[in-house]
Symmetry: C2
Subunit: 346 residues, 2 copies
């Protein structure tokens, strides 16, 4: 008999609420013979305030024993900026080598977008997750003085770039349009730019069916609002991916429906799935948060573990729910979760 051994990190703010709904839908979609075991972890602001810890070696050992991780959101205004981001979120991505950060964007019929004319949007961003300006390299001298110098070093390796580029080509190959766009800034960041561009062009030779193009990150933001339909799969650096996926989420239904996977494709470590949105402390505890992004992250999780038909059922349920919901009064977090649980079970 099959089983899923899931680490659950509700985290801060609305994280608690949306994860509860994600688990509700997960339980509803799984067949009887799959045993779901969950273990909850209390990472985030409360734990930090109570113990000063964000993520210890012992924590990593425990998390490692799971098949996957479901995360709500981490972050609270009571914690200085950067402490939980670098000390928990990024530490986990780096420790578990989550080098493929997968962020699909699909505008569903009837879903509100800030763009005029309800354009067709259906693309996936493959964001590199373990290199670039996110490595924490850099430093500060003469801190706090008028002579302070602070540096941030973007580190890019052939090893790190090639594996994520290869992953993106494989994803493009598997999609009907078979198109892959490299987004970078190779006319200014020429060292990293050459590395990315050369490897992209080299790997392209192995995927002759995939159409490729290149766009500077600044121009990419223009296309994302004027012609988002031009994108199929995008592969990009960690920081550029961070920026354009927020924009991509905004134009394709908002961060209420944007899912993401922090994936270790070789499965040496558990992958982590989380909504793109943050902990939104302003609306926490009020049942106002949309759990759809978390539910869609559960679908990514299932697909990663090989439960494709269950993932498909969740995607279909969300599509049906969003399409019907258009124009209707807002529902509470648990009402949305209940509706989706009913749909996936039915």
């Amino acid at each position: 008999s099959r089983s899923i051994n899931l680490a659950v990190i509700p985290g801060d703010g609305i994280g608690q609420e949306v994860v509860a709904e994600g688990l509700k839908v997960l339980s509803a979609v799984l067949p009887q013979d799959v045993k779901l075991e969950t273990k909850e972890f209390d990472f985030g602001a409360r734990r930090y305030h109570a113990t000063g810890e964000t993520l210890t070696d012992g924590d990593l050992e425990q998390l490692k024993r799971h098949d996957a991780i479901l995360l709500g959101a981490i972050g609270d205004p009571s914690v200085p900026s950067g402490v939980l981001e670098r000390g928990f979120l990024l530490k986990l991505r780096f420790a578990f080598d989550h080098h493929v950060n997968l962020r699909p964007s699909k505008l569903l019929p009837g879903v509100a977008t800030p763009l005029a004319g309800q354009p067709e949007i259906d693309f996936v961003v493959v964001r590199e997750g373990t290199e670039g300006p996110y490595t924490g390299n850099g430093g500060t001298i003469r801190k706090g003085t008028e002579h302070e110098v602070a540096t941030e070093v973007s580190v890019n390796t052939a090893f790190g770039v090639e594996r994520v580029v290869r992953d993106a080509f494989a994803r493009a190959q598997a999609r009907p349009r078979k198109k892959l766009t490299l987004v970078h800034k190779n006319n200014v960041l020429t060292f990293a730019g050459h590395l990315w561009t050369n490897i992209f062009n080299k790997v392209a030779e192995e995927f002759p069916e995939v159409t490729t193009d290149y766009i500077h990150v600044d121009a990419a933001t223009i296309y994302l609002v004027t012609d988002p339909g031009r994108f199929d799969v995008i592969v990009t650096d960690n920081l550029f991916g961070d920026i354009i996926t927020d924009l991509a989420a905004a134009v394709s239904g908002g961060i209420g429906v944007a899912a993401s996977g922090n994936i270790n494709p070789g499965r040496e470590f558990p992958s982590m799935f989380e909504p793109v949105h943050g902990s939104a402390p302003d609306i926490a505890g009020q049942g106002k948060a949309d759990p759809t992004a978390t539910v869609l992250s559960v679908a990514l999780l299932l697909r990663h573990l090989g439960y494709d038909s269950e993932a498909d059922r969740i995607d279909a349920a969300v599509t049906a729910d969003l399409t019907e919901r258009a124009g209707k009064p807002a529902r509470s977090t648990s009402e949305i979760g209940d509706a989706l649980a009913v749909r996936v079970a039915g």
Copy 2:
């Protein structure tokens, strides 16, 4: 009697066409007693192919003798990516210490925007122009091998950050809404982030009338499409500024109307004014390019040199022209230039 000694760099592609119209409007708007002297420089792809040069010390010496520089666009697919960008555009910004890169965004009535509901947009981005990831620091080892490592170093100094932050506060103070937003990624790029945030907060104390806030660059792209009206003045790093000003241009009428100034506020060196758009080789020589962005850059140039009422006349002419033009058939580059020249003279 007054005079303007202007260096003109038409550059590549549509640069030639739009600069001609910019000069047409400039001549039309200047009072009789102002003597306009222009000297044209042939920088860009042709010069590079002919001589291998992008911008020599001798060139800089010659440019330095002018009151300001008007640039069309530099760049051509026949030149490898980065050569003209680093070798000309960025070299000039750094050599002439253009640390205030000014990019206004205003959506004029009737002008097309990809956003639904024609939102109100009227803000200015003050982009730092001489630091950050644009310094060219970094390098590559084991180039072309599977062990290649490429780094890009973002360099941020208290001196460099403080002067641009101070400039942005002064601009915010002079505007009716008096609001300044710092855009950075201080939760991940913590070294540079702390420097920017601390200096921003310190300088804020000198401007008690200015309301301030802080937004991460990823979230800023969301607001730029969902609530652009929230912005008044934005101050940000060189790379973040590059990215968000293309998006800002896209939502506020397109790059056909986006102007920019590369400013040396202390006037130790001539400042340079240019449209945000590139050389667009695909439409070059066909009279299809919109010269409005260049004409608005001429207005920024005039304001920088103290010709405020002339700059106001250009802005008003463009507003009137764009408002009337809405929905009408496209005009040629020179038709638009002619129409604007008539308006500013009238």
